[in-house]
Amino acid sequence: MKLKLDKIKRIAEGSLLPLAILLFWYLSTSLQLVRRDFIPAPVDVVAAFNETLHDGTFVLSLSKSVVRVLKGFFFGSAAGYLLGTLLGMSKTLEKMVTPLFNAIRQVPLPAWAPVLVLISNGEPAQIVFIAIGASYPVVLNTFEGITSVRKEYLEVANVYRFSRLKTYVKIFLPASLPSVLTGLRIAMSISWMSVVAAEIFMTSGGGIGEMMWSGRELSRMDIVFVCIAAISLAGFTMTALMRRVERNYSLWRLTMKQSA
């Protein structure tokens, strides 16, 4: 009973500030304290959402961005996983590639946009852009997962004379999975940040970021608000899904640690 009361109190305290901001937003716009084209009124935002929902642009833009994110995420994490695994399993490769990888990683993601746009126009450039951003955390986490595999397990593999492939399948793959999943989750959250940047820097066949950008150019701040909310929510949901998967596996990791 007491626990429940605590929880209610906690939620109440937590929603204090957001509610105050909402109220302030509502009052300042309805009392005309701020210019409406600077900050749209809540009703405007709801209306804009209705409008774009009915003419189909909202769903179309959002789905385009979601597909783009998924594609970039997929290619980026696949490449990242491959590279991370190779670097983790071979000392020579690690010494050969790591310095270059670290150097390239220091280039801020947006700087790639002007080059990508020239190499491949529109959609592919955006996907590569997202993939670059998504690959880094996957490389790092896969590498960590693989290199922190306990020596004892590898000794077992040595004793039974496992082949490289078998060692990978039986030991490296399962032991590094939790860490890889963490990398994938981070990659997902980066992908969502990148898709917005990609759609701003490299306009192509639509997307929620592009819709936001054109809303800005048309001075339709209500549309901008709708897009920001949609992007945040979609990003949050997909990252939360990844987190769930990650958590399920980290439970398994915990039992592994206990038995170790």
């Binding site: 010494k95 270059l100 980066i190 940040m193």
Partner: protein, 302 residues
């Protein structure tokens, strides 16, 4: 506080770097050792260094860049790819020297640096202050953190249209945008650093009857230094990324602008110089922060 983000990523980056740093320090300390022993036998000394595994490791790291440069030179010499897109490395180098000579590179670099530092200072100090506040007072955490969690869900580039509208496209827009990026990593790492201070240390302070202020200054903050420093590094990295982004979107000067400008003129050598410079500068910032960190945390168990 649970900000659904990747602000902890640097732990891994650090891990990655530590490996190479260890290799490097082994190589140099081994060399020093040998220098002491065989200072008069330079030939032997040199051959020993060349034979150490670590030196070979460092050489291995150069293989790939060299291969790539040679490949690009060959490819451009035979014009395998469109010559406007793929530029020979020696031409990029020439442009780099040319831009240095005219002073264009330096002035653009200075402007970007100024933006980064001012945005970083604003964002990181706010993040530090709020992180400390929410870590110390759980009521403050309960009130503020849900809102911050919501705000942190917005992808950083989602703020651009709003900030451009509210602050124009001038300096203040860029500084605020960069401050946004620096704020969250600093907030979360300060918070977690202070909250993660072992209770056993706090008990020691209690047996000596430390005041709240003394507890903060002598126990909580020093113990949180490693985490806070992670926050600083992440915040600075984020700032550097955002300055380039902001300059791509709207600027008349700065390194990011230089890249856009080169592209518009279809002078890809300028673009590549720009990318090269932002990469190198980012790396140097990272390395110098690492150096500060090691000297600050000599006490840290290695």
């Amino acid at each position: 506080m649970n900000l659904n983000h990747n602000y902890q990523e640097l732990r891994l980056v650090k891990f990655f770097h530590r490996r190479s740093a260890i290799l490097l320090s082994r190589a140099t300390s081994g060399a020093k050792e040998q220098q002491r022993q065989t200072e008069w036998k330079w030939g032997e000394h040199l051959s020993r260094i060349l034979n150490t595994q670590n030196f070979r490791g460092a050489l291995l790291g150069l293989v790939l860049p060299v291969v790539i440069v040679v490949f690009l030179e060959v490819v451009t010499a035979y014009e395998v790819f469109p010559p406007q897109l793929v530029i020979a490395p020696h031409r990029v180098l020439a442009t780099f020297i040319e831009l240095l000579g005219t002073g264009e590179l330096q002035s653009n670099f200075q402007i970007s640096m100024f933006r980064v530092l001012s945005g970083f200072l604003v964002g990181a100090s706010l993040g530090f202050a709020l992180g400390t506040l929410t870590a110390l007072f759980s009521r403050a955490e309960r009130i503020i953190s849900p809102l911050l969690t919501c705000i942190s869900q917005v992808p950083l580039f989602g703020w651009v249209p709003l900030l451009m509208l509210w602050f124009g496209i001038g300096e203040s827009f860029k500084v605020v945008f960069i401050a946004f990026g620096a704020f969250f990593p600093m907030l979360i790492n300060t918070f977690e650093g202070i909250r993660g201070v072992p209770g056993s240390y706090i008990e020691v302070a209690r047996t000596f009857g430390f005041s709240k202020v003394k507890l903060l200054r002598q126990v909580l903050l020093p113990a949180a230094v490693p985490s806070i420093f992670t926050g600083i590094k992440l915040a600075l990295g984020m700032s550097w990324m955002l300055v380039v982004g902001a300059e791509l979107i709207a600027a008349g000067e700065g390194v990011g602008f230089m890249i856009v400008w080169g592209r518009q003129l279809m002078q890809m050598d300028i673009v590549y110089v720009g990318i090269f410079v932002v990469g190198i500068v980012g790396y140097l910032m990272y390395l110098s922060l690492n150096a500060v960190e090691t000297s600050l945390m000599r006490w840290h168990r290695r």
